[in-house]
């Protein structure tokens, strides 16, 4: 293991748990079902969460629908932007690295993604990305600070209610994901196979 990355990055970094995941050999059929994608048995993160398979299964199915359901709504790039902005604001270097790469890939706007990581959530963005970053940051606050003005800005940037709901779901989901990745282990370099 190399030293943990100290700054936000789009590099493929790894993640290492602080407590013991289940061993691959210990995984029962119920555990494997909870992983949803069976290839995740290789990931220490998912094998750690597999200790409580009921909530892992719900977590994963919720995640997949929020980010992958392509029946209208917000484009994938902007869902990934909401995930990245939330992770940047909460301080999850690992989550931000994964979803910044997705945002880059789907949005083809690497400079805008880079600026979000380097300068933070206040970095200059166009109207749509500004509205999504601001709503994500407001929603990440405890207590949540999202207001009707954030929804108005999203609407003014061209989003309908389904797209706005998608943005809020992607941002809200990463409040869940960030806390698991931040509190059960830490990022490492180089890459280990895990995705959150």
């Amino acid at each position: 293991m190399t030293a943990a990355p100290l700054a936000f990055t789009t590099d493929r970094i790894g993640w290492e748990p602080w407590v013991e995941p289940l061993a691959e050999a210990e995984l029962t059929e119920a555990h494997r079902e909870a992983l949803v994608d069976r290839a995740r048995a290789a990931s220490p993160y998912f094998r750690l969460l597999a200790r409580d398979p009921g909530i892992l299964h719900a977590r994963t199915k919720t995640d997949l629908d929020i980010f992958h359901n392509a029946d209208g709504g917000l484009p994938r790039a902007e869902r990934e932007l909401a995930a990245t902005a939330t992770s940047r604001h909460n301080g999850c270097v690992f989550c931000a690295s994964v979803h910044a790469r997705f945002a880059e890939h789907y949005g083809r706007r690497p400079d805008d993604v880079r600026r979000l990581l380097d300068e933070g959530v206040g970095a200059r963005q166009d109207r749509l990305w500004r509205a999504i970053v601001d709503a994500s940051v407001a929603l990440a606050a405890t207590p949540p600070a999202l207001t009707g003005d954030h929804l108005d800005a999203l609407r003014a940037a061209g989003l309908d209610d389904l797209a706005i709901s998608d943005a809020l779901h992607a941002a809200a989901f990463f409040n869940w994901a960030n806390r698991l990745m931040l509190s059960l282990g830490e990022p490492t370099a180089p890459e280990a196979p895990v995705k959150e």
Partner: protein, 206 residues
């Protein structure tokens, strides 16, 4: 009234525009509900289908949830979990409510390690419970950990998990506790977002 907990807390009526919108993402809707039921099995003794079900008691789950919902200051969510706790452990409800009172702040904040992010550090309080005797060691440690996760997740470290272990939390119990707190930070934000969307759709937004 919908039996879906997010619908109930956000005031989403069956057949309303927001209900139809939620059903465009059927897996997210269904599994947010299943996650809730996995973490909060409705009847004592029922199996959640999860290996972690036995490691964290229902009362512990309700107490942590009432604390987390209280910290988010969402009245509908806070009332829901307060009521569950009061129904299952009447003596604990006031104790947890006092902890919420003492622990309330605004997040996220926290110190980054030495390095390029140190300039973004925002120092802030860690919560130490006031009434350890009334809560017991396990629950006291759980509330302190929940406060860390809610307000300063970037400060989480291996020592925080060791503190849970010293208070009697197994590794599987730690996973369930972490999921419960983290899931609630999602559920409460979905509720807040949908409620705001509903208000906007009615044209009566404040």
């Amino acid at each position: 009234m919908s039996t879906d907990i997010i619908d109930r807390l956000a005031g989403v009526e069956p057949g309303s525009p927001l209900d139809r919108l939620r059903r465009r993402r059927p897996d997210a809707r269904e599994h947010a509900q299943r996650g809730y039921l996995a973490l909060f099995p409705q009847d004592t003794g029922s199996d959640t289908g999860g290996g972690g079900a036995g490691e964290v008691s229902l009362v512990e789950r309700y107490a942590v949830a009432a604390f987390v919902a209280g910290l988010h200051r969402d009245p509908a969510s806070a009332r829901h979990y307060d009521d569950l706790l009061a129904a299952h452990a009447p003596g604990l409800a006031a104790v947890v409510s006092a902890e919420v009172e003492a622990a309330t702040t605004t997040g996220p904040y926290g110190i980054y390690p030495e390095g390029p992010l140190a300039a973004e550090s925002v120092p802030g309080p860690a919560h130490r419970v006031g009434d350890r005797a009334a809560l017991g060691d396990r629950l006291a440690a759980a509330l302190e950990h929940a406060h860390l996760l809610v307000f300063r997740p970037r400060e989480a470290d291996p020592e925080a998990l060791r503190a849970l272990a010293r208070a009697g939390w197994s590794t599987t119990g730690v996973v369930t506790l972490s999921q419960l707190v983290s899931f609630l930070t999602f559920q409460i934000r979905i509720v807040a977002g949908l409620r705001l969307l509903r208000t906007a759709q009615k044209g009566t937004r404040p």
